[in-house]
Structure formats: structure tokens, C-alpha cells
């Protein structure tokens, strides 16, 4: 524990800017993954333990596409699109078979998928770490805000994630499709009885969730290294985000993801050994005081 360092950082604008930026990066990437988890849970009541795999595969697909086309934009789109398709296949081929089974059965299937694709990644891309490197367009000098360094790519990444948060939020609350999704979250039988194809709806929800996770993986690739186990750690964190924010709430996911990002950003200075511990304490406190999460509806 190093509270002096934390105090020193909080009083230096440069340090505050740097840590806030890195916290925002962590938070925004986490939000993209957690949004999918929470959306899928909200509508299908499925806890998708394989969501980290989507994130990982998205990163690897982007890595390959960047190598072939040399266009980072294409790479991100390819990562997102590939994972949207993968999400639908996963839902149709496996998850749809266990909708009415035990939660543990769903967990078992997801775990199997995680195991399989960790090895598929090892076979296709090799077990070693890959560094995508910063795309050429972003290899420019960083901005300085109040003396803190902000690489331009970070700004773009935060911007894209924020844009997605807004589109997702507005899309769910204002469009007809969003209303259908929210209705299906509350009463799928009724939605089905009103003549809406819920099978298609569920597949679309999985496509959106998978696409977001794939995009997060692609966006994370330049700032983090790619490795076969990378899905594991983000999965746990995105669960924490969903629990803290409230299962099924997109706004909750955003707030909780940013909260965790900030704890990570500043926790590494104050409690370098115990940052994870802080996050778990936060999760336990939320579960005890407000089990439905910050923005969840009490059942």
C-alpha cells in the first residue's frame, strides 16, 4: 500500500490525466465486452461464459486482417463482423439446445467452447504472444493535456467506445427494434405471441453481443498483447461489471466499467499489489448492499 504516492498523483495534474486516460481505456474496452454480456443476459437470461472468447477471437481476426490489408479500419470491422457471425453460430448450434436446462449446463457448454477456441488460437496463430503494434495512422506524437501524455489512439478508442455506448443506449430506448428487445427481456412468450420472431431476435442479440466483444478485441489489440488466455481475464471483469451495474442494464454496465477502469487507473499507484482485491471488495459490497446492482431492477 502506498497512499503517499496516490496522494502525490492526485495533486499532480499530469498524473491525474495519465491515469484517468488509462482508466478510461480499461473502462471503455470493458464496457464493450460487458455490454454484450448484460444484453444477452437481459434478453435470453443466459450467462454467456464464452464471451471472453469472442473478445479474444476478435483481436486475432483483426491482427490477421491488418497483416493482409494493412487497413486498421478494415481490421476492426472484420473483427466485429466475424464475431457477430460467430455469436449467431454459437447461439444456434449450442446455446439454443440448452435454453431450458440448468444454468450449470450452459456454463459447461461455454467452458467447452472456451477450451476449444483457446487451443484453436494456439494452432492457428501459435501459443506465443503477438503484438499488433500501433497502426501507422496513429504513429504520431501524443497530445499533452495539463502535462499528461495522451496518445491519439487512446483518444480515438475512447471516442469510438463512447459513440457505441450512445448508439446502443439510444437504439434500445428509442427504436422499434430496441423496444422489441426490451419487451422480450421482460416477457418473451408474449412478444412471441404478438407475432415477433423471437428465434431471430435472440440470434440478433447474440450477433450484437458477439460483434461488440469482437470489436473490443480488435480495438484492444494495438494497446495490449494478444495471447490465447486473454479472454479469461476480461471475462471475469466483465462479470463484475454486469453485477455491479445490474444484470441487464446497459447504463449500469457503462458506469460500472468506468468505475472499475478508474479503480484500476488509480489503484495501481496506491495499491499496486491489491488492485484486484479492491475491485472484488467493491463487488462484494454492492452484492450485500444492493444485490440487484447499481442500475438493476429489484426482482
Amino acid at each position: 500500500m502506498d497512499l503517499d504516492a496516490l496522494g502525490a498523483c492526485l495533486t499532480t495534474p499530469a498524473c491525474v490525466v495519465t491515469q484517468t486516460t488509462s482508466g478510461l481505456i480499461v473502462g471503455m474496452l470493458l464496457f464493450l465486452v460487458a455490454a454484450g454480456v448484460t444484453l444477452i443476459f437481459g434478453v435470453l437470461k443466459i450467462v454467456n461464459f464464452a464471451h471472453g472468447t469472442f473478445y479474444m477471437l476478435g483481436g486475432y481476426v483483426a491482427y490477421t486482417v491488418l497483416g493482409v490489408t494493412d487497413s486498421y479500419t478494415l481490421a476492426v470491422l472484420a473483427g466485429a463482423l466475424a464475431m457477430a457471425v460467430f455469436g449467431v453460430l454459437f447461439e444456434r448450434a449450442l446455446i439454443s439446445r440448452v435454453y431450458n436446462s440448468d444454468v450449470l449446463m450452459q456454463l459447461l457448454i461455454c467452458y467447452a467452447v472456451v477450451l476449444i477456441f483457446d487451443d484453436v488460437v494456439k494452432i492457428v496463430w501459435g501459443p506465443e504472444f503477438h503484438a499488433m503494434g500501433m497502426p501507422a495512422a496513429f504513429q504520431v506524437p501524443p497530445f499533452f493535456i495539463a502535462g499528461g501524455v495522451v496518445p491519439p489512439f487512446y483518444a480515438v478508442l475512447i471516442g469510438i467506445a463512447a459513440l457505441i455506448a450512445i448508439i446502443l443506449g439510444l437504439g434500445l430506448s428509442l427504436t422499434r427494434f430496441g423496444k422489441t428487445v426490451r419487451a422480450a427481456a421482460i416477457n418473451p412468450q408474449m412478444v412471441s405471441a404478438l407475432g415477433i420472431n423471437t428465434t431471430l431476435l435472440f440470434a440478433i442479440v447474440f450477433a450484437i453481443g458477439g460483434g461488440l466483444a469482437g470489436m473490443a478485441g480488435a480495438l484492444a489489440a494495438p494497446v495490449r498483447s494478444l495471447s490465447p488466455g486473454m479472454g479469461f481475464s476480461i471475462l471475469i471483469e466483465s462479470f463484475i461489471v454486469t453485477v455491479i451495474g445490474g444484470m441487464g442494464s446497459i447504463l449500469g454496465a457503462l458506469v460500472a466499467a468506468l468505475l472499475i477502469g478508474m479503480v484500476r487507473g488509480f489503484g495501481t499507484i496506491g495499491f499496486p499489489q491489491f488492485t484486484d482485491g479492491l475491485i472484488y471488495i467493491m463487488m462484494i459490497a454492492i452484492l450485500l448492499l444492493r444485490p440487484q446492482g447499481l442500475f438493476g431492477r429489484a426482482s
Partner: protein, 317 residues
């Protein structure tokens, strides 16, 4: 059902124990002996989890915490004191039971999903404490320096044969004790809570107290499994308390069958055997294991023993 199920269970346990103890006298196979040692730890771990999952309907994602707690408590007691091995083991199990009581006191009032998540969170907190408290636990390197294996009752655990016998005896006795708990009136009460907690409550059962008791007992037996694991690796590692380890126990329970007492043992056997077998032929054991799990999960949709039970019931009708 025989008239004296308790006797029948005891006889089965004794017969199995005798068979397991006789095998190395006829034929020594280090691989087999290692397998049984690891299985005894895994069986206690998974079966104690099933007391919660299958019997009581409490899905805990954090059971590995007690496995790890038992291992660390035992290893530290052996390293820091001169106490004899059985005393240290008892201390470790009692300490784990107490830890489970404390964790359970916080967790058991939460409903199903939230219970799963909070047990996961508490486990991860425990894991990060192990990692960061380096002076006591050795951090992410694990507790090294070996566990002194002091001789007791003629058991010399340095020898693999004695370790094998010790683990087999503890494992079988532990399972027998769990079996007794699961068929006792208390076990029946837990099943009633699982099936209909409102009705159980109307009958005067204090839900949280029964759940807390189950949680504490399960924690204690997971701790015993951890003791055996610590003996096997002669140390304790943070991975024992990490979430993939809790996952292993859940998969053992699911593969074997949650509604059969021996399900988790069978599931543990399948997992360990697959692991050993597959790693021998390919480095991609996750791929094979994943495919096998998928076949079980999508094909049977229940554990192996539950599936067999279903088929037998179907024939009986």
C-alpha cells in the same frame, strides 16, 4: 433400498478401500498411484461441492477458496510448528470450516444467481490476498520449501506407497462421512429446501441456518481435499484457490451427475483421466477435453450417472 442403508454404504466403502489398498501389493504403477492420490483430493472437493449444488440447490462458484484455504492452512501449520501431521490436518480442516462459516454468514442469504457471484467474488478476494501477502504465502510463486512429512502411526509419507494408502483411506472415509450427511435427516432437509424453500420454511426450518450448516460442512470437506492436495504437491499454490479450480469442481459435478452421490467422483475420474491421457498424446488437450465435454453436455444433457439412472428408471417402468 436395503433395510440398513448406513450399513450397506459402510460395507461398500470398506470393500472399495480394501481393493484400492491391495492393488499396489500386486502391481506397482506410479502413474496409477498418482492418479488415486489426486482423485482422492478431487473427489472430496467435488463431492463436497455437490452437497451444495445437487443437494441444496446452492450454486457456489467459489468452492476452490476452501480447497486453497485447507491446503495453505495445513502447509503453514506443518512448516511453522512441530505438530504431528494428523493434528495439523485437523487444525487445517477446523480452520477451513470456520472460514466457511464466516463466508457463508455473509453469502447464504442471497438468492441463487447473486449467491453464485458473491462466492466467486469472495474467492477472488481470497486469491488476491494470497497473491499479495507474500511474506506469509509466498505470493504467486506458491508456498515453497516443502511440507515436512513427519512420520505418524508408522506412516512414512515420503514413500509414495504410504502417501497412496493415506490418501485412499482419508478419501474413502471422507466420502463415507459425506454420504452419511447426505442421507441423514439433515440431508433430506437440504433437498426439501432445494425443491421448495417456501414449504420448507412453513414446516419450521430456518432456511439460512440449514444453508449455512451445509456451506460450512462443504467448506470443511473441501479443506480436507486441499490437505491431500498439499501433501501430494508438497506445498500450496494460489491456483488451488483460483477460479479455474472451482470450475474444475463444477465440471466434475456436472459431468458425473448432480443427483447421484457418486456422480462428482465419476466426473472427477473422467476429468483427471482425460487430462492424463490426452496430454500424453497432444499438447492441445483443451481442444479434446472441450469436444468431449460438448458431447456430454449436448448429447446427454446431464451427468453420466444421472443419465444411467434415467435409463434404468425408464426400463423399470
Amino acid at each position: 433400498m436395503s433395510k440398513h442403508p448406513a450399513w450397506r454404504d459402510t460395507i461398500i466403502a470398506v470393500v472399495v478401500l480394501i481393493i484400492v489398498l491391495v492393488i499396489p501389493l500386486l502391481h506397482r504403477s506410479p502413474a496409477f498411484e498418482d492418479f488415486i492420490i489426486r482423485l482422492s483430493a478431487m473427489a472430496l472437493f467435488a463431492t463436497s461441492l455437490n452437497l451444495l449444488v445437487g443437494n441444496t440447490g446452492m450454486v457456489s462458484f467459489g468452492h476452490g477458496m476452501f480447497y486453497g484455504f485447507g491446503a495453505y492452512a495445513f502447509a503453514l501449520t506443518m512448516q511453522m510448528t512441530e505438530l504431528s501431521l494428523p493434528v495439523a490436518a485437523v487444525i487445517a480442516v477446523v480452520a477451513t470450516a470456520f472460514a466457511a462459516l464466516c463466508v457463508g454468514a455473509i453469502c447464504v442469504r442471497l438468492s441463487t444467481e447473486y449467491f453464485a457471484f458473491i462466492t466467486l467474488a469472495v474467492q477472488m478476494l481470497f486469491y488476491s490476498i494470497i497473491i499479495s501477502w507474500q511474506s506469509l504465502t509466498g505470493g504467486d510463486q506458491g508456498l515453497r520449501g516443502g511440507i515436512p512429512r513427519r512420520e505418524f502411526f508408522g506412516f512414512e509419507l515420503e514413500s509414495q506407497l504410504h502417501l497412496y494408502q493415506f490418501c485412499a483411506i482419508v478419501g474413502v472415509l471422507g466420502l463415507l462421512a459425506l454420504r452419511h450427511i447426505s442421507v441423514s435427516p439433515f440431508g433430506q432437509t437440504l433437498r426439501m429446501i432445494r425443491d421448495n424453500e417456501d414449504r420448507a420454511s412453513f414446516l419450521g426450518i430456518v432456511l439460512w441456518r440449514a444453508r449455512l450448516s451445509a456451506f460450512t460442512i462443504a467448506g470443511a470437506f473441501a479443506g480436507l481435499g486441499g490437505v491431500l492436495a498439499a501433501l501430494f504437491v508438497s506445498g500450496a499454490y494460489p491456483e488451488f484457490a483460483d477460479w479455474p479450480n472451482s470450475g474444475q469442481a463444477i465440471f466434475a459435478v456436472m459431468l458425473g451427475g448432480i443427483h447421484s452421490f457418486l456422480g462428482p467422483v465419476v466426473g472427477g475420474m473422467i476429468l483427471l483421466a482425460l487430462n492424463d491421457l490426452v496430454t500424453r498424446y497432444t499438447e492441445y488437450h483443451g481442444l479434446i477435453l472441450g469436444i468431449v465435454i460438448l458431447i456430454f453436455a449436448v448429447g446427454l444433457r446431464r451427468g453420466v450417472l444421472d443419465f444411467i439412472k434415467l435409463i434404468r428408471l425408464g426400463r423399470a417402468r
